[in-house]
């Protein structure tokens, strides 16, 4: 078990392209941290630098109290699970799992005991004699995890381990990974581009974009209090809506005026916070669940807008209604019992108690 520290780490490739631009990250012992972000954001590069598979251009990486910048991967006491499983095709499942232990000249009885223990945790005891080609995708991924578990490493590194699995198996394996972490409690760094995977697995989520860390925090914090427009738009599915507004003062109150002239009253509790942005063009951030069907007795802080429905997506327990405000695509989550027909004008309730206000120039949530 160990802490992992990433301090001012830079990865620069030939030609001066910076994949990682001086990031800082502290991962506590036994913590499950997920690095999430779009392709090319530097998350996999960061993980590979922690693994020792990529050299660090600048900065320091600490594992368990030691700087490991120049330590080869085999001496870092880490284990990694790859997207493509990376099982040795000519070895049985047992030999795949035992390979690292054999190289470390561990006594045979202990190797067997560790492999059996990992196989029991992952429920693959009956597969130990098989070759990888005789396994399904999910079984191969379990074996890859088993190969990591048997080592009892200081840190587990997962590089998009579920990306190759079908949707159903992905959900199942996600639970398995969480269960394994609850059992072995090893510090884990997990990379994914799937924000649902990040939200469901992580103790803390690290959102990366363009080689920098946009925000670090527990999933709920990221969801409810995003620091930037990028995080607000990346976390949550369907994504947060962004409506261009102008902040206006009406006596002691503030309102957000939309391009079509409709004015949405800003809750009084937020007047002080948003006051400095009066008369400025801002972005109003609203999650789809805070944009619902309008009812006759609205609660305080609920405003009404009438918009022409473009597309509806019935999902069973809810219906997604899509429309446009000044060209910006908007998605609302409404009760499936409510009639919503494409082309018709529909009244929506905007829950301003959960609004986010974003500075368009900096992308900062204020």
């Amino acid at each position: 078990m160990a802490q992992v520290s990433v301090r001012k780490v830079v990865k620069e490739y030939e030609g001066g392209v910076q994949a990682v631009k001086g990031i800082d990250l502290e991962i506590a012992d036994e913590e499950f941290v997920v690095l999430v972000g779009p392709s090319g954001c530097g998350k996999s590069t960061t993980l590979r630098m922690i693994a020792g598979l990529e050299e660090i251009s600048d900065g320091e990486i600490w594992i368990g109290g030691d700087v490991v910048n120049d330590v080869p991967p085999r001496d870092r006491d880490i284990a990694m699970v790859f997207q493509n499983y990376a099982l040795y095709p000519h070895m049985s499942v047992f030999d795949n799992m035992a390979f690292g232990l054999k190289l470390r000249k561990m006594p045979k009885p202990e190797i067997k005991q560790r492999v059996d223990e990992a196989a029991r945790i992952l429920d693959i005891q009956q597969l130990l004699a098989r070759k990888p080609k005789a396994l399904s995708g999910g079984q191969r991924q379990r074996v890859a995890m088993g190969r990591a578990i048997v080592r009892h490493p200081k840190v587990f590194l997962f590089d998009e381990p579920l990306s190759n699995l079908d949707a159903k198996l992905r959900v199942q394996m996600r639970t398995e990974i969480k269960k394994v972490h609850q059992t072995v409690r090893t510090t884990t760094v997990y990379v994914t581009h799937d924000q649902i995977e990040a939200m469901t697995l992580a103790d803390r989520v690290v959102v990366m974009n363009g080689g920098i860390i946009e925000q670090v925090g527990p999933p709920q914090e990221l969801y409810h209090h995003p620091a930037t427009r990028f995080v607000a738009g990346f976390i949550g599915s369907p994504a947060m809506n962004f409506i261009p507004v102008r902040i206006e003062v009406n006596g002691n109150t503030l309102s957000a005026k939309m391009p079509d002239g409709a004015s949405l009253a800003i809750p009084t509790a937020r007047v002080d916070r948003y006051g400095p942005f009066k008369d400025r063009k801002m972005l109003l951030g609203l999650r789809p669940e805070h944009l619902t069907e309008h009812t006759d007795d609205p609660k305080p802080g609920i405003a009404r807008i009438d918009e022409r429905v473009d597309v509806t997506e019935p999902m069973g327990m809810e219906t997604m209604v899509h429309f446009f405000i000044d060209g910006a695509p908007i998605c609302a989550r409404v009760d499936p019992a409510v009639r919503a027909e494409p082309g018709e004008i529909m009244p929506f309730a905007v829950d301003m108690n959960h609004m986010h206000l974003i500075e368009p120039e900096s992308g900062r949530v204020v």
Binding site: A51, G52, R74, H90, F99, L103, K133
Partner: protein
Amino acid sequence: MSGAVAAAGALPRRRPSSTVRHQRWVLWGSYAALVVFAVMFLVPPFYTLMTSLKSSAEISAQKGSPWYPHHPTLSNFIYLITNRAFQIYYWNTIKVTVSVVVITMIISVMAAFSLSRMRFLGSQSLATGVFLTYLVPPALLFLPLFKVVGTVGLLNNAWSLVLTLPTLSVPFCTWIMIGYFSSVPKELDEAALIDGASWMQMLFKIFIPVAMPGIIAAMIFAFTVSWGAFIYPLAFLYSSNQMVLTVGVVSDLVRGDVFEWGKIMAGNVLAAAPPIVIYAFLMDYYIAGLTAGATKG
């Protein structure tokens, strides 16, 4: 009643669609081409085998069909097998070939592994350079190599072939192996590195077993180059006790203008037997893709 049955049984015949007709023509065309090529390639070995089973008298008589022996005999084979000179050619060929294959595989596997997997300055240019050396024809090389062989004192010594034949086999085998090693997923060596393997352990425990079809392909090539070499043995060897099969058979069994065709053909059959056996046994392994299951697939 019979008329009704006949009417029910006679279903309207449909003309095959143009796609089906086209496919049929393609199939027939393929078979025709394959038969032509099979005949072209199989007639010489068949004629060799048939001639090897004829006596010298039958060959010189030139009566009846030349395509099969009228009085089959194994006398040519018995003569060669019991002939001391032929035994020496055979032994020399085996000795040279085994040595060339071993040397080639050691050099080319190591070279290919480092060129395909280890990042170092100039590795790409070096890999291209290895292939370029293969493009130089042996007919151009044997003259300077004659000088080299003479300098090291190996002229008229079968070991000169062990020194020179790898110049033909190593570049091509290295190139084959670079391609094979490059097809092994990168994650496999990264997983091995994290598991604690050194570069040598990675080569011997992961790459060589995984790339075995490629290694066998390279071995077959090195074997063929060495077993069938003609120009180098012809240039470097001139004593009967140093010769290999390719030059030994023709130099020993052609005396002036007398060609002992039966024995020459029997020599060819005996010389061709080991490669045929090796191909037959290793072909499945050669084709099999061992990497199946290494990654998603």
